[in-house]
Symmetry: none
């Protein structure tokens, strides 16, 4: 019962945080210079999409278990893990768009980089899904390895290519950019690690609860907290440009 409630309450907290931070980004984008607003607006879009999916996830969790004689038992209606993949399919490319957009790079640099990052994120998520819904360890591992290739490519673009592109930035912007990149590099690892948990024997109720808690906290960091860092980059760049909000 405590386990069901922990997950349910964490989902609810995530819904509230996502929508609330979305409203913040939509209103606060007016505080930054027009050139950096799209990055902040996209941050808001991402958390709104996540808030919607967490509402569906919360509902699905409530439908999958029912209280019987003081204990929660499975109702037979399966918990729909596909909402997460649907969410990631839309939000993961947008998270990368945020970062590139807020840096206000030249179109010639940003354009191809965004295209490659978008293709790589689609590939990463679409390759992960056949593994996620399989209960055969071999199939899970195969798709895990395949999905890791575009993931490592994304990290390569962020750390090597984008690293070069920001060399001309001021100290504050550069250090905020590194923070945003570190948020991605650390929090995104939760997903492939959580994916592996059932394959290394962590299954049953504890495994499921650990998975849902891990995913939710990773999403809060990778979307809401990350969005705040994106906003800070936009603000620092606006200040550096001498922009005065009106």
């Amino acid at each position: 019962m405590g386990q069901f409630d922990l997950v349910s309450n964490l989902f609810s907290l995530t819904i509230a945080t996502m929508f609330a931070s979305g409203i913040f980004f939509f209103l606060a984008q007016r505080q930054v210079a027009p050139a950096y607003r799209v990055g902040v607006i996209v941050s808001g879009i991402v958390v709104f999409i996540a808030g919607y999916h967490y509402y569906r996830i919360w509902e699905s969790w409530g439908a999958a278990y029912a209280l019987e004689a003081g204990n929660y038992v499975a109702t037979g209606t399966p918990f729909n893990e596909a909402y997460r993949y649907a969410d990631w399919l839309i939000t993961v490319p947008l998270l990368l768009v945020e970062l590139v957009a807020v840096l206000g790079l030249a179109k010639m640099v940003a354009g191809p980089m965004l295209r490659n990052l978008t293709v790589a994120s689609f590939a990463m998520i679409l390759l992960g899904y056949p593994g996620e819904i399989s209960s055969i360890a071999g199939t899970r591992w195969l798709f895990w390895f395949l999905a890791m290739i575009p993931f490592l490519y994304i990290l390569y673009v962020l750390f090597v290519q984008l690293g070069k592109a920001i060399e001309s930035e001021s100290g504050e912007v550069a250090s905020l950019f590194k923070r945003a990149r570190a948020v991605i590099a650390v929090s995104w690892w939760v997903y492939p690690i959580a994916f592996v948990l059932p394959m290394i024997g962590l299954s049953g109720a504890v495994g499921e609860v650990g998975l849902q808690v891990g995913y939710s906290i990773a999403d809060l960091i990778a979307k809401a907290f990350y969005g705040v860092v994106i906003y800070q980059i936009a603000k620092a760049k606006s200040d550096a440009d001498g922009y005065q909000p009106a």
Copy 2:
């Protein structure tokens, strides 16, 4: 029956007040100078999050009791007190952010202060929760004392450190700031006092109704009324800066 209805109606009143004041803050932030808008926007975020949680609390209250032969009896579905903790976990740090943000302090002063206040509020709420869900008096008291340490630290920061930081403010701003601080210092005491009620023999229906009424009124004061004071500070500072809304 009167007791169930009293609580249910108060929850409904709180939902309406929170969302309505949120809309006010979101629209009225444009009346103040850009430098103080984030504080007012965050006020709106806080009451929106609270409105969401009061909606869930109201639902949970309705599911926990059912009308039988003219009396409300427990249905067996427990009333979910965790919504309050989820709410506080997000809103308490933000309430402190509002106050520091609206003062427009220098980054060097505001940055470390905000970090310390945020860590202290997380510690306060996370330490309170194990006590809240325990029915053992010793456990409740232990976590009450532990949670009081960060609470007293927050009061120290507000009254000593932040007190020094506002010494240069004009008379009107200083007196509004003292009002906002007094709202925190008075209304936040409701929570540790309400927590103690069941430990001093006030349990059963009267204790539960007293707790819910106390929490709801405290939340209305600490979030909606407090947000109005934050807005007044923002307006007074904008006036002092000679800002003309466009």
